[in-house]
Amino acid sequence: MCSGGGDGYLLEGVRRLGSVTIFLGRLLVQCVPALGRPALLLNQIYNAGARSLIIIMLSGLFVGMVLGLQGYDLLQRFGSEEALGTAAALGLLRELAPVITALLFAGRAGTALTSEIGLMRATDQLTAMEIMAVDPLRYVAAPRFLGGVIAMPLLTAIFSVVGLYGAQLVGVQLMGVDKGVFWSQTQGSVDMHDVNEGIVKSVVFGIACSLIAVYEGYNATPTAEGVGLATTRTVVASSVMTLLLDYVLTAEFL
């Protein structure tokens, strides 16, 4: 398990990558039986999704409002502040909503997942389950993973809509862009492709962030310090992974 010698960092990185991949495979196998226990799944959708609702909506509102202000200031220099709706909608749908939701999710739900599972590990609850021939992957890890994967696209969609109305609030009510123009320009320039891009991104981010959170918790060193370290690693790895995947997916979609 531990890395040895001088070139340890590289080897450790490769080992972790392999370990995560194997973990994902084992997790996916357990996802099917986990679907057969909707009560556990419901609990996790509530934890990951419903309890992130306030922070997501608040962030979405302010991101949209800032987009309205900045977009208006930039566009009115070119005398085309009517394009504000287009700028805000495309910016939100394609980039801001999936990425910021994923970052918030990593901070809000990912850390909770990691510390919860890590603490279960530290207090030998997972070992106890194994002794009783109950697979902790099936009853602990898989529902949490699935809950995150289901919650993320929904959170992203909510973020987009709230953000759009935030941009409308600033653009139309505050800055005086015509409401009809705002929406007609938006509808004229957004097509299904843009909406799909956001949805695909959010699903991918959901898988990545939930996987990292569950993996880090499951493989945390069973000490107080180890759980703390695992939580930190979850945030860092999820954030970096989100931004990295975002670039790949954007290049794919454009």
Binding site: Y46, E82, V161, V181, Q185, Q187
Partner: protein
């Protein structure tokens, strides 16, 4: 049991909100999607244009720069080869002379198009189903520049004349 109930309500609310947002994004946002929401009050008038530029459904209709309504429909008349624009005028503006003049104008340099109505002098007013006969098409900037340079290259003095002539093109419709 109580805690379970809150959990279920919370999750239900979240999933409901999420799917409502998804539905909004997929059906309402792209122009190709279907439109919900009932028709707003007002009366409808039509006008035929040779060229509407990038006028869209939802673009404003103004008189003297004041918004009085919006474009509610655009279709193509394959008999006359004209674009038929339907406008919804807010009900309080019910004293617009029948011989008013509709022109398609641009907001700013690169902005969207809108319809400007110039009131005429008749005592009879536009009502639901009326048709505005006097229209002026959108000015397509490129063709304007093309015309200008074509004329400019022929005679340098004639350039300004020709572009002014092009701009004032109107089509009285009978």
């Amino acid at each position: 049991m109580r805690a379970n109930r809150t959990l279920e309500i919370g999750t239900g609310l979240f999933v409901l909100l999420g799917f409502a947002a998804l539905l909004f994004l997929t059906t309402q946002l792209p122009a190709s999607g279907l439109k919900l929401g009932g028709a707003k009050a007002g009366y409808y008038v039509t006008a035929a244009f040779d060229n509407i530029g990038d006028l869209k459904v939802g673009s404003p209709v103004t008189i003297s720069g004041v918004r009085v309504g919006e474009v509610s429909g655009i279709r193509f008349d394959s008999r006359d080869y004209k674009a038929i624009v339907t406008m919804r005028i807010d009900p309080q503006y019910n004293q617009i002379p029948e011989d008013s003049y509709a022109s398609i104008q641009t907001q700013g340099l690169l902005g969207g198009k809108y319809i400007g109505l110039s009131p005429g002098g008749l005592d009879s007013y536009l009502k639901d189903g009326s048709r505005i006969d006097q229209t002026q098409s959108a000015i397509v900037l490129e063709s304007l520049i093309n015309k200008f340079f074509a004329n400019y290259s022929i005679s340098k003095s004639g350039g300004a004349d020709a572009s002014a002539d092009n701009q004032g093109k109107t089509e009285p419709k009978k």
